[in-house]
Amino acid sequence: MTRLLDAQGLEIAGRLAATDLAIIGPQLVCLVGPNGSGKTSLLHALAGIGSASGTVRIGGADARTASPSVRHRLFSYLPANRELLWPLTVRDVARLGLAALENEIDAALETFELTGWADRRVDRLSTGERSRVLLARAFAARSALLLLDEPIANLDPLWQLRLMDILRRSVSAGGQGAIVALHDLDLAARHADRLIIMKNGRIAADGDPAEVIAGPCIPAVFGIQRTREGWRPA
């Protein structure tokens, strides 16, 4: 059976040690780890950004050699940096590189409650609102795999929960795979099908979220432990 993602030998000198990662079918994978642990580097290596070595196959297709017109069907990448460099409208940002997908763009703008703002300039939006525009673009591509770097950063609590629900739905109903870097361990544990913990550019733990959270890895990696009152320094 063709795997949704089959990545082998991903490596970025000084940032990511040789890493293999596979996703069999539609799955919401959350990626957690301390600052500088390699979450963004792993997403970069998967998205072909910078000088990463290794192979990445998505739905059997080689993502490294695919042309720009094919790549958006394989994966969508949301960077942690939400800066938009030119004052385009919300709809025009969502359409960048996806001009043929008008219906999907309309649906994504609707999902992120941006339809009424479609003609607003993005430089007049808040950072959180800009995040929703970029998320709408990432979802509009209907890619096989979503690679989202801290998508809930800058979102208000309601939209953090909504985004996790939207992700849950597109994995369960839409058959997409998603690898999502997060800092919120509880949110990750509650919504993920699978939890990966990164440390020093390596995967330190990978498995069922409840088991990983309860295991010895969290105190060892983060220096925190779960108590009745919540997470406390170990």
Partner: protein, 322 residues
């Protein structure tokens, strides 16, 4: 930009091109009455190269300005403010007065190498995502250095008339160029513009940041090299024939982005059309000015462009609330 808007801009450029050929009409009409052959020769040998150079040089400055602004993600980047045109002028002066090669081909190669050196120096000094202050300071430093070296090259030139010879050209001039010279500037500029137009899509995607553009399979290093090389070739070839002309490469892309709904890559075509239109209009102003003599076109674009630049800086400052 819609097809209708493109057609409108192209028509405007076309009308100004015809006006440029026929202005002043009285002298052509008088010649037509006396000696038809001479009138046609004046049109072909004097006015056609001048109008062609205005159209193509202006279009090249507009297209290069739009591409450089998109690449540096900065609306104040332009061939003149980045020191590209000054570098090209230095290259041409060194070739002509120190090396002693004055053929259009040698001048073009000298100017292209000068422009290339200036752009590469800018990339080293300011980086590819330059803050406005860093970009402008680097451009200013490169322009000042190139200007000083140009003066030095003219001072050291074996010919005692070097300054006098070069004055008109240094101020930017389209007058008394032959069709062959127009071809030397126009052919590389036309090719460079067409190749720059191919880069619209990746330049638009850069709006989302370098990482997203790269994740979609665009080779950013290659994109940078292509834009720097094409700008140097196109602008360098024009500077070699007509000298350095300022502000068109700054102003045209800024208005062009209003027509491309802010898209920096799609602004290249309207910026080229607007640039050509602006330089044709400026050239008509040089002839219409009631001063009894023809003004250098570079002076006219600077007189019109500098206040716009000042307004732009003030506007940016106000909009940033500082």
């Amino acid at each position: 930009m819609t097809a209708r808007m493109t057609l409108l801009l192209a028509t405007l450029a076309g009308v100004l091109f015809l006006l440029s050929l026929l202005t002043p009409w009285s002298s052509i009409a008088a010649l037509m009455a006396e000696d038809r052959g001479l009138a046609i020769a004046v049109l072909q040998e004097l006015r056609l190269p001048r109008a062609l150079l205005a159209l193509i040089y202006g279009a090249m400055l507009g297209a290069a300005g739009a591409a450089i602004q998109a690449l540096f993600a900065n609306p104040l980047a332009s061939p003149d403010l980045t020191g590209t045109t000054s570098g090209a002028a230095l290259g041409a002066v060194v070739t002509a007065y120190l090396i002693g090669l004055a053929s259009p081909l040698a001048l073009s190669i000298g100017a292209i190498l000068g422009a290339l050196a200036a752009l590469l120096l800018l990339l080293v000094l300011a980086g590819s995502r330059a803050e406005t202050a860093t970009l402008l300071l680097s451009g200013l430093a490169i322009s000042a250095l190139a200007g000083a070296l140009t003066t030095l090259a003219l001072a050291l030139a074996p010919s005692p008339f070097a300054f006098y010879d070069a004055y008109d050209w240094l101020m930017g001039s389209l007058v008394d160029r032959s069709l062959a010279q127009a071809a030397f500037a126009g052919a590389p500029a036309l090719v460079a513009m067409l190749l720059l137009l191919r880069l619209r899509a990746p330049l638009d995607l850069l709006t989302l940041g370098e990482d997203v553009a790269e994740s979609l399979g665009h080779d950013l290093r290659r994109l940078r090299v292509e834009i720097v090389a094409l700008t140097a070739i196109g602008v360098g070839a024009c500077v070699a024939i007509c000298g350095a002309i300022g502000f068109v490469g700054l102003v045209a892309p800024i208005f062009a982005r209003r027509l491309s709904r802010g898209h920096p890559g799609q602004a290249i075509l309207p910026a080229a059309l607007l640039g050509g239109t602006l330089l044709l209009a400026a050239d008509l102003v040089t002839r219409a000015a009631p001063l009894g003599r023809v003004l250098p076109i570079g002076v006219v674009t600077a007189l019109l462009g500098a206040p716009f630049f000042l307004w732009l800086v003030a506007h940016m400052r106000w909009s940033l609330g500082r």
